[in-house]
Amino acid sequence: MSRALRYSTPAIALHWLIALLIFVAFPLGVYMHELPLSPDKLKLYSYHKWIGITVLVLAAIRVSWRMTHTPPPLPAGMVAWQRHASSAVHGLLYLLMVAIPVSGWLMSSAKGFQTVWFGVLPLPDLVEKSRELGDLLAGVHKALNFTLLGLVILHVGAALQHHFIERQPFLQRMGWGKKERA
């Protein structure tokens, strides 16, 4: 009996695709926000929204995949608190992958700028235009994003720590290096 210590290929593909898109959307969000109004600013806002909605769609697929597939077991060397911390962080990351784009979508509606995915698919405005709500949701979007930043640092730090310091073949789980079989 051999058991793959690796997530399934769709799970790995989704993990890296979403990571890449977030790594683009996050700095873009911070940068565009500071710009004075210009056509370029309007373009960047649209691109940010399109990337963000793409993350939402991929995250929905990813969460349903995760709920219907068992991930590979954690290495035996991991102690209880590490296991708990790991599942808590993963749970929050999934939550934020959905909550951040949704907060962005609602904020855009409240600010009176509908989201039209890639300029083609109009998303319904789920809330009425309102200055107060728009500002509130912008604050929520920002706070969720900086929570995400903190969690991603933890997440990456933990993975690297397991791999390089505890010398467990950890990064293979998400497809780095050769497929390991136990």
Binding site: L37, S46, G112, F113, G119
Partner: protein, 186 residues
């Protein structure tokens, strides 16, 4: 005798509106609106003007004698967001310091049937004047009549959004304008 006089006065009062039709002259600002809509990155954005004055005279029996003059205070703009309101005041947009108002003056009003009219006139914005034809629907009402109209304005005809903003792929050239003027007879 007095009885007959009262009856006569009553009949005369009833007959009056039919004898000479109302001329609408008094505009009700609170019930009058000017809205617009344009596309930004393909997404519709709504806006409007809160302050404008309308002088008009319109007698449905004599539309050829009708006239209208609308002056819009550009500082009362809602361009979709506070940031856009500020931006719109600048030189590239309305250049509001030099041109604080948009002015429309009718030249001729033609009945086209069914309470519909074609209002010919000149719109002056940012120092540029353009002739235009605006379709208007007259809706008689109990207390006030309304005049609903709309047209599509090309912002670049008036130099609205110059320089970097002239790129119509980001902010479309077409701006849909809709207005409703409510007025009572004098």
């Amino acid at each position: 005798m007095t009885r007959h006089l009262t009856l006569f006065a009553l009949l005369a009062a009833l007959a009056a509106p039919a004898a000479h039709a109302v001329e609408y002259r008094t505009v009700l600002p609170k019930q009058s609106t000017i809205h617009f809509e344009f596309r930004q990155m393909g997404v519709p954005v709504k806006g409007g003007f809160k302050r404008f004055t309308t002088q008009m005279a319109f007698d449905p029996a004599r539309p050829e004698a009708a006239r209208a003059r609308i002056e819009i205070d550009l500082a009362s703009i809602d361009a979709g967001s506070p940031e856009a309101d500020d931006e719109s005041a600048g030189k590239l947009w309305f250049d509001r310091g030099a041109y604080p108002k948009a002015i429309f003056v009718s030249s001729q009003i033609r009945a086209v049937g069914n309470n519909r009219y074609e209002m010919h006139g000149t719109l002056t914005l940012k120092g540029r004047s353009r002739d235009m034809v605006v379709p208007v629907a007259y809706v008689p009402g109990k207390n006030a009549a309304t005049f609903d109209g709309g047209f599509v304005l090309k912002r670049l005809d008036f130099g609205i959004g110059e320089g970097m903003w002239a790129d119509v792929a980001t902010v479309a050239n077409e701006v849909k304008v809709k207005f409703r003027i409510a007025a009572t007879g004098s």
